[in-house]
């Protein structure tokens, strides 16, 4: 007769091994979570589509065409810029003998650490008449007209700086995994260098370039902070104005439909491309030969790299330090009003940390059943559905959550919970991808092997599954956390009154021109974002807009 202990063990084993009933329960849970996460997306689309012909026709005549043109123009230009810049920087770092590649390599990825709106605002405060640059020049008695950065060019420049790291990092990884034998084989077939680049190297890099370019394009569509700072109107700024000013949801929903359609198009393309061109492995461990750069080429390339580092990292970092010092040296009477004391700063940071970590933890918990079902039963349909949130830029997620909460749970509206729900929905895809990647590292065979060695099912969990999944879970948590931490427009629109986070404080202070008061939150944000640097290779990074 079986002892009670073995009975318990068997019951547990059946649960973990998932018999038909348990599987049905799991499916139900997954169904619920997936639809709940996708609901904001669906409702926004529905509201947009059913907005009525009047709204659509008035939109069509007044706004839609100019907005489409300006958004697509910026998206296209930034994507091309990011591809050219990121691709060429990756090549210079990986394939040439440039001096200082060791430390320039990571520095070039460093703009990832700064949210795009921070880069934009510090650049705006640096250039232009009365900016930091002209002030510094005046110290030396030089007075020149420094141009401002507003408009298309400024938005383009800042967004290229903010998005080229995606292309750069993916291309670098692809260059590193390129098999040197393929180029050697091409040479032994009598093909010249330049033709090898166009016929072998570029086609092999194409999947990485395309993936990076699409990441950049999706980012530009979702960006609010940078384009708002640089006064360039796109869909996000137009929708934001509609929501923040008049709180008129119907036209906003209609515009959102168009923006969602554009984003979904790009995301689908991205999923199609992801993983393509990877069905070969690197056969030869031999490193790729470096191209020697001589005389002027060497210095031109080095100057170019240093310029990129200055514009992307040193300038924004330096300007925030400048303003911080300025605030300390010349304290202003308004400072108290702007709440720059350490205690105030601490409360903003606390608000940020609590909301972001709650979102990260919640997202991972909800992602687990979906990932489990997707990996173990290869049932990915519902998991796909739950990723819909990533097609909603920060501005739209605010609108979507407002619509849903208004209708179903009005008492949550304008509470911290609304904010946390918004973060979870928006960044759920990141949590899901990380969990799936982790679970994929624990094949069922491995668990079976452990069981055959006499390990109990609980033991298998504790000794095998968890340690193998843990790194991915940590990475996923950190990514959701950082994305939520830096999310700007959704926080601005959904936060309860008085609930200020670091990005909100930074944005409001900088928006009023109180740069000295914006410096501390910005620097804190950068410091907190540093882990992104180490997670860089994961690249499911969707930065807050």
């Amino acid at each position: 007769m079986a002892s009670s202990r073995t009975l318990v063990r068997r019951a547990w084993a059946r649960w973990v091994g998932l018999g038909s009933i348990q599987r049905a329960v799991l499916s139900l849970i997954v169904l619920g979570v997936a639809w709940a996460i996708a609901l904001p997306f669906i409702i926004t689309l529905w509201r947009g589509i059913t907005a009525g012909t009047e709204i659509w026709s008035s939109l069509w005549h007044a706004r839609l065409v100019p907005l489409l043109v300006s958004t697509l123009l910026l998206t296209g230009a930034v994507t091309v810029g990011a591809l050219v810049l990121g691709g060429s920087l990756a090549w210079l770092i990986e394939r040439t003998d440039l001096p200082g590649r060791r430390w320039l390599g990571p520095m070039l990825a460093a703009p990832l650490v700064m949210p795009c709106y921070v880069i934009a605002i510090w650049h705006v405060s640096f250039w232009g008449p009365g900016g930091v640059l002209s002030r510094l020049l005046e110290l030396f008695g030089v007075s020149v007209h420094v141009p401002t950065l507003y408009g298309f060019f400024g938005a383009w420049l800042i967004l290229v700086i903010g998005t080229y790291p995606y292309v750069y990092m993916l291309t670098r990884a692809a260059l590193r995994s390129l098999d040197v034998q393929l180029e050697e084989a091409a040479r032994s077939l009598g093909v010249r260098r330049w033709h090898i680049v166009t016929r072998v190297t570029l086609p092999l890099l194409a999947p990485a370039l395309a993936a990076g370019g699409l990441l950049a394009a999706v980012y530009v569509l979702s960006d609010y902070g940078a384009v708002a700072t640089l006064r360039y109107e796109t869909f996000t700024t137009a929708i934001y104005k509609q929501l923040a000013g008049r709180y008129d949801q119907a036209p906003a929903a209609a515009m959102s439909t168009v923006l969602i359609a554009l984003t979904v198009l790009l995301l689908v393309a991205q999923q199609r491309l992801w993983g393509r061109g990877r069905h070969y492995y690197k056969a030869s461990p031999r490193p790729l030969p470096l191209v020697p750069l001589r005389s002027w080429k060497r210095w031109a390339a080095l100057g170019f790299l240093v310029l990129c580092v200055i514009l992307g990292v040193l300038l924004p970092g330096g300007v925030s330090l400048y303003w911080l010092l300025e605030g300390v040296v010349h304290p202003q009477p308004m400072a108290a009003f702007w709440g720059t004391s350490l205690a105030d700063l601490g409360s903003y940071a606390w608000n940020s940390l609590v909301s972001a970590s709650a979102a990260a933890t919640g997202a991972l918990f909800l992602a687990w059943p979906l990932a489990y079902r997707a990996v173990r039963y290869n049932a990915r349909g519902l998991a796909r559905l739950s990723q819909a949130g990533q097609a909603l830029p920060g501005v739209l997620i605010a609108l979507a959550i407002a619509l849903v909460l208004h209708r179903f749970v009005p008492f949550l509206y304008f509470t911290v919970w609304a904010l946390i729900i918004a973060y979870i929905v928006r960044f759920f895809a990141v949590a899901l991808q990380a969990t799936e990647a982790g679970l994929a590292r624990v094949p069922v065979r491995l668990e079976e092997a452990a069981r055959s060695l006499g390990c109990s099912s609980v033991g298998v969990w504790w000794r095998l599954t968890l340690p193998l999944v843990r790194p991915s879970l940590i990475a996923g948590w950190t990514l959701v956390f950082l994305n939520a931490l830096r999310e700007l427009p959704a926080t601005l629109l959904l936060r309860p009154p008085g609930f200020d986070t670091l990005p909100v404080r930074f944005w409001i202070a900088a928006g009023e021109g109180f740069y000295a008061q914006a410096a501390a939150p910005a620097l804190l944000l950068m410091v907190l974002s540093l882990p992104l640097f180490f997670l860089g290779h994961q690249l499911e990074v969707h930065r807050g807009t």
Binding site: Q181, A185, A186, S188, G277
Partner: protein, 259 residues
């Protein structure tokens, strides 16, 4: 017979203390030379020097009547007319079988050339497939066809059979032998399997720790090994096998003995 490849006092030093050479050898036109030796003996390096992927520190390499590498001359790999079949085949993963084979063929003759070679290696129906859709043996035949399509004077094969299943090897060996005899292309192939070398090659060179121990027809290598190393490498593998097997038997029996 005229020499197609002449190597004189070739020397190549690597940072990790490995040195190939000084080494001299000559390969006649249409000859099939096998190069054998234990792993790390410099076989692949020798091929890479001939192909032009490595620059020798000193010595001379002549292919045909042209000096391709010495103290003054240097001919880039793409100008040497040397075809190479890599150990892992190095097929272009983004190109189909036909596109892979056509890679080094000038446009005007491309279509016809590709058709001929696909028939020659018995892959006539595979034009539209991608490398990852092929078996190991098929991949190898594509790699050989690709190298031959560029009409090289010299063909280099790096461990051509090492990535094939054991039951496929004799078949591919026979196929390659017939093919090379028909084409009359000067060929050097590298292997660590002496049986393979003896079956295929006209002459066999034995390398050990970067030095050429002996180069001769298989029969003479077997009967009159020049050095102790050659004798052991050629003559005793079976004895070693037997001893190993006896050791393994004993090892398996140990638990029973102990109980």
């Amino acid at each position: 017979m005229a020499h197609e490849i002449v190597i004189e006092n070739l020397l190549k030093r690597f940072s990790d203390d490995f040195t190939l050479g000084p080494l001299s050898l000559a390969v006649s036109q249409s000859e099939l030379l096998g190069v054998i030796g234990p792993s790390g003996s410099g076989k692949t390096t020798l091929l890479r020097l001939i192909a032009g992927f490595e620059r020798p520190d000193s010595g001379r390499i002549v292919i045909g009547s042209r000096t391709v590498a010495d103290a003054i001359h240097w001919v880039e790999p793409e100008d040497r007319g040397v075809g190479m079949v890599f150990q892992e085949y190095a097929l272009f993963p983004h190109l189909t079988v036909a596109e892979n084979i056509a890679f080094g063929v000038p446009k005007p003759v491309r279509a016809q050339r590709v058709r001929e070679l696909m028939e020659l290696v018995g892959l006539a129906g595979f034009a539209g497939r991608y490398p990852h859709e092929l078996s190991g043996g098929e991949q190898q035949r594509v790699a050989i066809a690709r190298a031959l399509a560029a009409a090289p004077n010299v063909l280099l094969l790096d461990e051509p059979f090492s990535h094939l299943d054991a039951d496929l090897r004799p078949k591919m060996r026979a196929f390659l032998k017939v093919l090379l005899q028909r084409l009359g292309c000067t060929t050097i192939f590298v292997t660590h399997d002496q049986e393979e070398a003896f079956e295929l090659a006209d002459r066999v060179a034995v390398l050990n720790a970067g030095r050429l121990e002996q180069i001769d027809v298989p029969e003479r290598l077997y009967r009159e090994p020049a050095t102790r190393f050659v004798a052991e490498f050629i003559g005793r593998p079976c004895a070693v096998c037997r001893r190993l097997m006896r050791a393994a038997d004993l090892f398996c029996a140990l638990p029973q003995l102990l109980i």
